[in-house]
């Protein structure tokens, strides 16, 4: 049995420039439309939900600063994912690396904070967070570069291990990280010297500008330097890299460690910024997973990540406030993220191929 028509994929020799912008925007719109269906079916008003989300995410002054504040960690986890993606490596354990970065920088803030001044503490906390993130990816990175073990499942499995560590340190009574004498388990606040001040009364911290610069630096690193050149060669054709005497194992290892460090840095930014303590709620927020979506939506372009990161932060802040004000499930936000990514992936096909439907014709009349 044959369908009356079939799809024909014609490889585009040149991708029209406008599609680079149209595809992500259309993906967001299409995902919002899917959201309408689900909201409607479950008895919420889609229009009210979205207008509130937009209001709280972008269209008010606190909304904007909240969004930019939220985007800080998201951009960080997104560049972590995108950096590994540059070499076709899939670090999908950014979530766990972020936990470990948070854990280590909390330790630094608690243990070293009282003894060191702010201008020393901030870099120290961030470096320790980054190192912890790198450490958390060390085993997947090592076995990937030496044995070729797929990093996809290994990095992800370690996220579950990391989550158990976080829970352990928060819920165990007498834990170093736990605030004493509280009814509900709660993390202990790090020393003031390990924290930055926000701008005025907003939730926006200077770390936002740091991650923007970081994203631009990574862009330069990949596009303009010899290290980036090697990454491009290896990602495109490992055999060409070998031919040219480029050590792919070492580069693989370093790229993954840097990716892990960037995710860990995201955890540290939560400590020096808005959170300041080990927070059990972190495992429900999925910053690491969101980073993957943001990176994919930006097609792993570091400067585009800044834009898509802010967009996503808006969706999230809007969604969170919605949860508080109207009791719409916050999870609509996560679902939308997944839907956006699915649509963006589908849209990729339109960038690569000109898709036509043709009637199945029979040669003989």
């Amino acid at each position: 049995m044959r369908a009356p028509f079939r799809l024909v994929f014609e490889q585009r020799s040149e991708t029209p420039k406008y599609l680079a912008a149209v595809v992500p925007i259309a993906s967001v719109v299409a995902a919002l439309f899917i959201g309408v269906i689900f909201l409607f079916a479950t008895g919420y008003s889609p229009w009210e939900t979205y207008s509130n989300m937009f209001q709280d995410g972008f269209a008010s002054s606190t909304g904007i600063t909240d969004t930019l504040g939220m985007s800080t960690v998201l951009i960080c986890t997104a560049v972590a994912a995108a950096f590994a993606f540059q070499m076709n490596l899939y670090n999908i354990g950014g979530e766990g690396q972020l936990y470990m970065g948070m854990l280590a920088s909390t330790w630094a803030g608690l243990a070293l904070g009282p003894h060191l001044p702010t201008f020393v503490m901030i870099p120290v906390v961030m470096i320790i967070g980054a190192l912890a993130g790198a450490l958390w990816i060390l085993i997947p990175a090592y076995v990937r570069s030496r044995l070729g073990t797929s990093e996809i499942v290994t990095t992800l499995l370690l996220t579950y291990v990391a989550a158990n560590f976080i829970n352990h340190y928060i819920y165990t009574s007498g834990s170093y990280f736990r605030a004493p004498n509280t009814m509900f388990p709660q993390g202990r606040l790090v020393a003031d010297s390990a924290r930055l001040d926000p701008f005025g009364t907003t939730n926006l911290y200077p770390t936002f500008f740091f991650v923007v610069l970081l994203a631009l630096f990574l862009y330069w690193l990949v596009k303009k330097t010899e290290y980036g050149y090697k990454i491009q060669v290896i990602s495109d054709s490992p055999r060409a890299a070998k031919y040219a005497g480029i050590n792919a194992n070492r580069t693989t290892l370093s790229v993954m460690l840097i990716s892990g460090a960037l995710a860990g840095l995201g955890g540290a930014m939560l400590i020096v910024g808005p959170v300041g303590r080990l927070d059990p709620g972190i495992t429900a927020l999925g910053y690491g997973y969101a980073g993957i979506v943001i990176a994919a939506l930006a097609r792993n372009n570091f400067s585009a990540i800044i834009v898509s990161g802010i967009l996503f932060a808006g969706l999230r802040t809007g969604g969170e406030k919605l949860q508080i004000s109207t009791d719409t499930p916050i999870h609509i936000g996560v679902m939308l993220q997944g839907a956006i990514l699915l649509f963006a992936l589908g849209g990729e096909a339109f960038r690569r191929y000109r898709i036509k439907t043709i009637r199945t014709k029979v040669v003989a009349q």
């Binding site: 799809l7 994929f9 689900f38 479950t42 899939y90 999908i92 085993i139 076995v143 044995l147 070729g148 073990t149 797929s150 996809i152 499942v153 290994t154 992800l156 499995l157 370690l158 579950y160 291990v161 158990n164 560590f165 829970n167 352990h168 819920y171 165990t172 429900a284 999925g286 997973y289 993957i292 979506v293 994919a296 499930p329 999870h331 609509i332 936000g333 996560v334 679902m335 939308l336 993220q337 997944g338 839907a339 990514l341 699915l342 992936l345 589908g346 990729e348 096909a349 690569r352 191929y353």
Partner: protein, 312 residues
């Protein structure tokens, strides 16, 4: 400590292996066709909550299982469409499915929060067989779906290696161009098995919810079992019979914290024993990727690569 705890542990391993078997059998069929579906975790979660809601509303565990399986198939349709028809990156598509499925499950699960699973699947009793020491609890104290999982794995093995469609399925995963040259539709075969795989995963998620869980715990309901199932396929070398063995093995690591807790053994913090399944899976994956093992494993050669007929 006594003998009972070990018998209990092994019996629980067989029980917990059920979801793993469904999840990884689903992934195995998908991967044998050359499609990589990393979305297992998302599919498990969505089908789990769907089965809960359906069973709760209808009062029938069977309706729950059926709805869960259908939701699993529907969700993987998205992946099949993206990966096979639109030739998208299968890894990213699978991840998107995890994220979407998790969000969807938590969104749908809002009304289920705080409710107990009332409509539950009950174990079958085999009368005197169940009372046989050791063998009784290990083999004859499970519900029908657990036996179905084992039967499916055995059937899958026969289907793959002894039937015409099985031959075509294996060929599609290994060398789609050859299948295409024979005039068989690669896309058709791939979509079919990907969606069938989703159906199995959906059944696994529903079983986990309706036979094993006390209540809906959001993402913690499956807690990464989908990822372990994916690793299990590698562990089993893409062979269904080995998968039964592997599932029981990994099932052991999954049930350990609960069995220890039930027996009030707390020499090691439960937070650490809960890490065991993930660490064990990681170790297994690393051990299997020694170069000498890789070829013997038999991963489908075209796994994860979209098929494009070479048109100049």
């Amino acid at each position: 400590m006594n003998d009972n705890i070990w018998i209990l542990a092994i019996a629980n391993s067989v029980t917990l292996a059920t979801t793993l078997m469904f999840g990884s059998l689903g992934a195995l069929f998908t991967e044998r066709a050359g499609v990589l579906n990393l979305g297992v975790e998302g599919v498990l979660l969505s089908s789990a909550i769907s089965s809960f809601l359906a069973a709760d509303a209808s009062g029938s565990v069977w309706v729950g299982l059926a709805v869960g399986a259908i939701v699993g198939a529907l969700l993987t349709c998205i992946h099949a469409g993206l990966a096979v028809i639109l030739r998208a990156n299968q890894i990213v598509s699978g991840l998107a499915l995890v994220i979407f499925g998790t969000g969807l499950a938590n969104f749908l699960g809002k009304p289920a929060e705080g409710k107990d699973v009332v409509t539950k699947l009950k174990p079958i009793t085999f009368g005197p067989l169940t009372d046989i020491p050791i063998l009784g609890p290990v083999l004859f104290k499970h519900d029908i779906i657990t036996y179905l999982a084992i039967a499916l794995a055995i059937g899958a093995s026969w289907y793959l290696f002894r039937s015409r469609p099985g031959l075509e399925l294996r060929a599609t995963g290994d060398d789609p161009a050859t299948v295409d040259a024979q005039g068989l539709s690669v896309a058709n075969i791939r979509i079919r098995y990907t969606v069938f795989g989703g159906l199995l995963m959906g059944l696994g998620g529903s079983w986990l919810m309706l036979a094993q869980s006390a209540a809906w715990h959001q993402s913690a309901t499956t807690n990464g079992i989908g990822w372990i199932a994916l690793a299990l396929v590698v562990f089993a070398g893409w062979r269904p019979m080995r998968l039964i063995f592997g599932a029981v093995l990994f099932g052991f690591t999954l049930q350990l914290p609960f069995t220890l807790q039930a027996e009030q053994i707390d020499a090691i913090s439960a937070d650490y024993t809960k890490m065991l399944p993930y660490v064990a899976t990681l170790v297994a994956l690393v051990a299997l990727s020694r170069p000498s093992r890789v070829n013997a494993l038999g991963a489908p050669r075209a796994l994860g690569t979209p098929f494009v007929r070479d048109e100049r």
